[in-house]
Point group: C2
Chain length 319, copies 2
């Protein structure tokens, strides 16, 4: 992959995706000790950056491929994004979701007209269910992150951010499967600036940090974190990009993520999901970023009403 | 009072208050069956429109008055707003708060450098505490709504909204003490358009609706609602304005407010407070507004972390 795919994706997605706002907050800057530019992908269609990658992948299908429809397994935002992208392009979407997927995400996929197949919440069951759906329907799989077009689409968020705010010392994106972080690397390189790219990862699902440190891919087993969008392992494709281009991966425990989440909700009034707050917590944790101009991708805002209580049950004070 | 005071306040407040964004949402429009323009006062300084009125009142003080400082009793947003406005102008603020005021609001007042006097949560205790504070310090009382300058400042939110989106069929503001609704009336009149002005009020604190229907001021006793910003009674000053200029006051039960709050949080990702959601619920309830262009003042976004759980404990489904 060449970084230029992100620029091509941006052209393709113009008028299709929301050009989301970048917001700043005096209170947030004070709390973090840095000048922070937040790319508000929670205000993207379907409430997450995932709509960028899914749309880019769907728009790149030829007519014959599109007629077959698309399929994916996803616990959440990619599912909604692909369903919505397919709906807008008048093609079928088949989504395999684990039985423990948040209700709000299942409802969204359903509302976007996709057909849903529920499976046991483990990798083997999901893979088997997806294979069988693709065989039965002829649908083309669009992987949530192990897909060049999805990565290129994801990178357009960072590209818009950099184009809007100019020089940055650093840019941070949360890392689960690594699609957003990979696309962010390409966007940063495309801007030909010296900005450092960081990943932010929950310590309860730290396969990217461990893989990055070891120099070889270590799959995630038994993830345990409130960041329900960041449970998956890197793919070889994303690991290779991240290994070569990312400056560092910062791991964050859930208490720090809760503090950041609480701060974002109560001070900026932006309802982002825990998987976004982890990137804000990373800025607070990392002394190298003190006093710097830092871009951050707030990746999504899909939180179930039922989570409001439990997320903050044991929130430590913000200061 | 003449409507022109709102235009004068807008000039005075330029560069002082946030010119908050107006947002729209396809999902919200579908849910409400109307084209809705949301004035995002939860993104105002101190997280509420109250900063407009407090700033206008503080800026209108002469040098001698300013030197005496300002004082108010308020359970919440006016307290924070006056404290911040005073702080920015380098004058002292003395705030009397009831012992049951939300923690986040008390912390904000404290952070803005005001001196706080806690009293029993009843009108008599608050009045007595305020009188004693004013006598001891010489501070000038800035009432949360029974004050021409505060009303004029509050009206600038609607003025900005109307100037930005043009013709509206109706504009809705929540009503507690009536300052925001009164200012909104003046802004609508100033625009010299035929738009109707509505108040939205919790049925558990419906003194404005009852007063409006009866044609005489009925004080609120024993309010019972999740809308903690709308507990107070109208003042004769605001009642007179509202009686002459408001088209109707729509009362909303807390379950409907919870549904609107849940919708705003989960779909628009904007963390507004219940006292704002009541105005959205009013659009949904009122058949006259179907298909219309409706402006709404989302008055604030100050919600305590501890409220996240309880607010949605018994939330009925949004549809």
């Amino acid at each position: 992959m060449q970084p230029t795919v992100v620029a091509e994706a941006a052209t393709r997605l113009a008028g299709v995706v929301q050009h989301t706002p970048v917001f700043t907050s005096r209170l947030l800057n004070e709390w973090l000790g840095a000048s922070v530019y937040c790319k508000a992908e929670h205000l993207q269609h379907v409430g997450a950056f995932k709509f960028r990658g899914a749309s880019n992948a769907v728009l790149k299908l030829g007519a014959q491929q599109a007629a077959r429809g698309v399929a994916a397994h996803s616990s959440g935002n990619h599912a909604a994004a692909l369903a919505r992208a397919a709906q807008l392009n008048g093609i079928a979407a088949h989504i395999v979701m684990p039985s423990n997927a948040p209700g709000v995400k299942r409802a969204a996929v359903d509302a976007y007209g996709a057909s849903i197949t529920i499976c046991e919440p483990n990798e083997a069951a999901r893979m088997a269910a997806l294979r069988s759906v693709c065989e039965e329907t002829g649908a083309i799989e669009i992987h949530p992150f192990d897909n060049d077009d999805v990565i290129a689409g994801a990178g357009t968020a960072a590209l818009e951010l950099i184009q809007e705010v100019g020089e940055l010392d650093a840019i941070i994106a949360p890392v689960g499967g690594g699609g957003l972080l990979s696309g962010t690397c390409f966007a940063a390189e495309l801007a030909r600036r010296s900005m450092l790219v960081y990943g932010a990862e929950p310590s309860g699902a730290d396969d990217a940090a461990r893989s990055f440190a070891l120099g070889k891919l270590v799959p995630q087993t038994f993830p345990n974190t409130i960041c329900d969008g960041l449970l998956t392992s890197l793919a070889p494709r994303t690991f290779e990009i991240i290994q070569r281009r990312v400056h560092d991966i910062i791991t964050i425990d859930d208490d720090a993520t809760r503090r950041a989440l609480s701060f974002l909700w109560t001070r900026t009034k932006q309802l982002v999901e825990p998987s976004s707050a982890v990137a804000i917590a990373a800025i607070r944790k990392h002394p190298e970023l003190r006093g710097k101009r830092v871009g951050v991708i707030l990746s999504g805002g899909n939180v179930d009403t039922s989570q409001f209580a439990t997320l903050f049950e044991s929130t430590p004070a913000a200061n």
